[in-house]
Amino acid sequence: MRGLMNKLVSRSLSVAGKWQQQQLRRLNIHEYQGADLMNKYGINVPKGVAVSSIDEVKEAVKSAFPNENELVVKSQILAGGRGLGTFQNGFKGGVHIVKADQVEDIAGKMLGQILVTKQTGPQGKVVSKVYLCEKLSLVNEMYFAITLDRKTAGPLIIACSKGGTSIEDLAEKYPDMIIKVPVDVFKGITDEDAAMVVDGLAPKVADRNDSIEQVKKLYKLFCERDCTLLEINPLAETSSNQLVAADAKLNFDDNAAFRQKEIFALRDPSQEDPREVAAAKADLNYIGLDGEIGCMVNGAGLAMATMDIIKLHGGTPANFLDVGGNASEGQVVEAFKILTSDDKVKAILVNIFGGIMKCDVIASGIVNAAKQVALKVPVVVRLEGTNVDQGKRILKESGMTLITAEDLDDAAEKAVKAASK
């Protein structure tokens, strides 16, 4: 389910300073929530029930799946690689297909436990819910996706009569079977568009008109819920001649959070990095990483350049932190608190280019932060731009022990050296 798309490190980072407040972090929703959403739009999905306790498991098996011999038991965490993951209690595999009478036992080993996968990092993520699904017997697997396309400046439907593996693999193996249907952004999807998609999918047993309707419903969901990616892989046909979205990946446009309240209410903070939750509260653009140099930079572009140079000098950034082009002293203090609360951070690098932002504001923020939190690690500061002299004077007069740097390169070198001590 978590296709290669997850790995594409792309950019929805804040740039050009933060002119307006907005939702900065990316929304991920659980599998059962996605299925529920598709079901609401009339899209065929496997029958499933999300449960959070053994009692609920018993009840669900009895009432929802009275005639099933086998069920799929899926851990619900917001990370990929569940099938190959391992629980911290030693239990292997976050997804199991089991006989109905074993569901309780298997679900019991998952609920409340920490699942570690290659995407979660070593700390893993807690499984608060498991999703019980009917086991489908599939006769055909296809690929379907809607994305926003650069070239046509609108949504693009991608379909392939083969499915089940990643689109990259499909593109390599069956380049001729992949069809792309651009949808006019003003007109919306037409019957002809949908028919072209269905012809590309070439379902073997499902009814053509029903399939056209399913495609139109998927498009409707994509548009109405401000999706940036809707990937159904596989889009399957069952032995009962039905087209079913067997597995799905939904990405939403964070920018649309203000008008998609219902979707964004599905956010599950228990699955998020607590550092990121704290940063979001202070309206900072923060992404936690696992290196040893804490970075505080203004502007996403400069933040990336800073991280690049840290790496060049053999260090690893502990985070991406953009305080924005217009940060207040208070935000700088909060940023420092987040950086210093991270045990892995062995040195802090502050890299500020004061364009609109004034260096003296940053400097006062650093001095104030030092009063409020115990600075146990060396701090390297590079200030440049507006009011740089005032900023440097404030730092100097504060009596703090800081390592000052002349330029970005110098700063990175000193930070890496300080962190390795």
Binding site: L4, M5, K7, L8, V9, S10, R11, S12, L13, S14, V15, A16, G17, K18, W19, Q20, Q22, Q23, R26, K118, T120, G121, T147, L148, R150, A153, G154, P155, I167, V185, F186, D226, T228, L229, D253, N255, A256, F258, L289, D290, G299, A300, G301, L302, M304, A305, M307, D308, I309, I310, K311, L312, G325, F353, G354, G355, I356, E384, G385, T386
Partner: protein, 608 residues
């Protein structure tokens, strides 16, 4: 998309959603460049009209404010750039409205967080109508020495340092606004500076792309080389790779794609969305840098080496004679804003108002230095507040109590007295509270309620000069002046005014000295011997007792007492007190829904 220059020294913009600082920065940039016309022709502020005052150099100018985009475009048909500072919620709708105006050619969207599906519509519309969208999520762009969008390039100091007030030979384009500031500095250091710089914005789908602008720069003769700063993610850089491969770009391009660090995280970090359908490798910074290098761009091995590469490329162009070094000009000094100049201690300016009784600048307002919280905590009354605000000192409690009694006694005197009557007539004419109150207050003067000061003045003068009551009264009579504070329409010697008695009793109990009161009583005794209605009235009682208060409390110097009497403080007491009654009469009439008052004919003597 336009194929050449977007801006010139005469380009004018319409600015949507008024923000003082960015506009002032644009106008300051104009002044720095020696532009003759301001680069902001008009401002659009939904629902507001009029003018905004801003500085253009030393002069103040008034920039028209329009309530709709259509009105602004009609009023300023030559303004072809639309700078949109709307919030991310409304930026898409207002940008689309602007794109639909025939006069608008370029729309810059500053807001970060415009939903992608909305941006897609803007891009589609702009493409089919040959218009340019810069942004969203951008700081904008700048053509050195000609035109600047909003906050581009930061403060004036930064602009001067980057020599953006005059054109150089380098075309620059990046995603990030913050990094463009850094790069403007770098480029100014190692070349003759920027010709034009654009930040396309950080969204997944920018309105115009890196390659759109590079191809445009390629058509501008003054641009001799291009610098591109890309970022990991997306495939935008590949359209530039294509353009390079197809030979569409014939000027040197120095490029670097940031984000090489992204590879190093063991877990699969999700920085954001992936919109495009391609392998991860292709969207990585390394992949893009390699592709650009292969296509013929000049790509350094790290960001550090970027500056050196730019310098090398520029120096080569100079050697080849393609760039002739330009003569530096000194930009004019932008006059400093008064506020910041005062703050930094550079100038001093005279104030136009002095105030000594109160201060609202601190944590809480102060009356004569006493903060509001102490006034409440110490249980002060309205008399204490009056003593602070009128006399600028805390008077003893018996004094402030006396002031309160005066106010209570003078608060009202029935509906028939002139003031109340006027208020009632006005209220019944349907006028508002303030008008009704004021029409009553305007009646206060020498014949109605205004005798306290005069009484105090004459009693004080007579007493201080040691005149006997006989000398005083007869002297006044000779001058043809009625003794103020003496005489009543109803009260008689055997039927004293109750209010006068109350005041005098209080004073005898609490005041350390009542010499002026005693003198007034002596005067009254003499006047009563002339006529039974010449009693000391409430004005005379308050006037004389206030003299005792001022003199007896020991808190005022002689000059201060003279000044208080001279300025006419004591009438203030009556005005304040009677306002309470007049307000009451207004409410009363309104509550009773009384119709317009008309005086009856039979009550008027019509005569020739």
């Amino acid at each position: 998309m336009a194929t050449g220059q977007l801006f010139s020294r005469t380009t004018q913009a319409l600015f949507y959603n008024y923000k003082q600082l960015p506009i002032q920065r644009m106008l300051d940039f104009d002044f720095l460049c020696g532009r003759e016309t301001p680069s902001v022709a008009g401002i659009i502020n939904p629902g507001a009209e009029g003018f905004q005052k801003l500085f253009f150099g030393q002069e103040e100018i008034a920039i028209p404010v329009h309530s709709t985009i259509e009105a602004a475009c009609t009023a300023h048909p030559t303004a072809d750039v639309f700078i949109n500072f709307a919030s991310f919620r409304s930026a898409a709708a207002s940008s689309m409205a602007a794109l639909k105006q025939p006069t608008i050619r370029v729309v810059a969207i500053i807001a970060e967080g415009v939903p992608m599906s909305d941006t897609k519509q803007l891009i589609a519309y702009a493409r089919s109508n040959k218009k340019v969208v810069i942004g969203p999520a951008t700081v904008g762009g700048i053509q050195a020495g000609a035109f600047k969008i909003g906050d581009t390039a930061g403060t004036i100091d930064n602009i001067v340092q980057c020599k953006l007030y005059r054109p150089g030979s380098v075309g620059f384009v990046s995603k990030s606004g913050g990094m463009s500031n850094e790069m403007y500095n770098t480029i100014a250091r190692v070349t003759d500076g920027i010709y034009e710089g654009i930040a396309i914005g950080g969204d997944v789908f920018p309105g115009s792309t890196l390659s759109d602008h590079i191809l445009r720069f390629n058509n501008i003769p003054q641009v001799k080389m291009m610098v591109v700063l890309g970022e990991l993610g997306g495939r935008d850089e590949y359209s530039l790779v294509e353009a390079l491969k197809q030979g569409k770009v014939n000027k040197p391009v120095v490029a670097w794609v940031c984000g090489t660090c992204a590879r190093l995280f063991k877990s699969e970090v999700q920085f954001g969305h992936a919109g495009a359908k391609s392998g991860g490798e292709m969207e990585s910074a390394q992949g893009k840098n390699q592709a650009l290098r292969d296509a013929g761009a000049i790509v350094p091995t790290s960001y550090e080496a970027f500056e050196a590469m730019i310098k090398e490329t520029f120096d080569k162009l100079v050697e080849q004679g393609k760039i002739t070094p330009l003569k530096e000009v000194m930009p004019p000094q932008i006059p400093e804003d008064l506020n910041s100049a005062i703050k930094s201690g550079k100038v001093r300016a005279p104030t136009h108002i002095i105030s000594t009784i109160s201060d609202d600048r601190g944590e809480e307002p102060c009356y004569a230095g006493v903060p509001m919280s102490s006034i409440v905590e110490r249980g002060y009354g309205v008399g204490d507040v009056i003593s602070l605000l009128w006399f600028k000192r805390s008077l003893p409690r018996y004094c402030t109590h006396f002031i309160e009694i005066c106010i209570m006694l003078c608060a009202d005197h029935g509906p028939c007295v002139s003031g109340a009557h006027n208020t009632i007539v006005t209220a019944r004419a349907g006028k508002d509270l303030v008008s009704s109150l004021v029409s009553g207050l305007l009646t206060i003067g020498p014949r109605f309620g205004g005798a306290i000061d005069d009484a105090a003045r004459y009693f004080k003068d007579a007493y201080d000069r040691g005149l006997t009551p006989y000398e005083f009264v007869e002297g006044m009579k000779k001058k043809g002046i009625r003794v103020p504070g003496i005489g009543h329409r109803i009260k008689r010697g055997d039927n004293r005014d109750k209010r006068v008695e109350l005041l005098q009793r209080f004073a005898r109990t609490h005041f350390p000295s009542v010499k002026y009161m005693e003198y007034a009583i002596q005067v009254e005794t003499y006047t009563l011997s002339k006529a039974n209605n010449l009693v000391l009235n409430v004005d005379g009682a308050i006037g004389s007792l206030f003299l005792d208060l001022l003199a007896g409390s020991g808190m005022f110097s002689k000059q201060e007492i003279d000044e208080i009497v001279e300025i006419g403080y004591l009438n203030g007491l009556f005005v304040l007190a009677r306002s309470i009654g007049l307000i009451g009469h207004t409410f009363d009439q309104k509550r009773l829904k009384q119709p317009l008052y008309r005086h009856p004919w039979e009550d008027v003597l019509y005569t020739k």
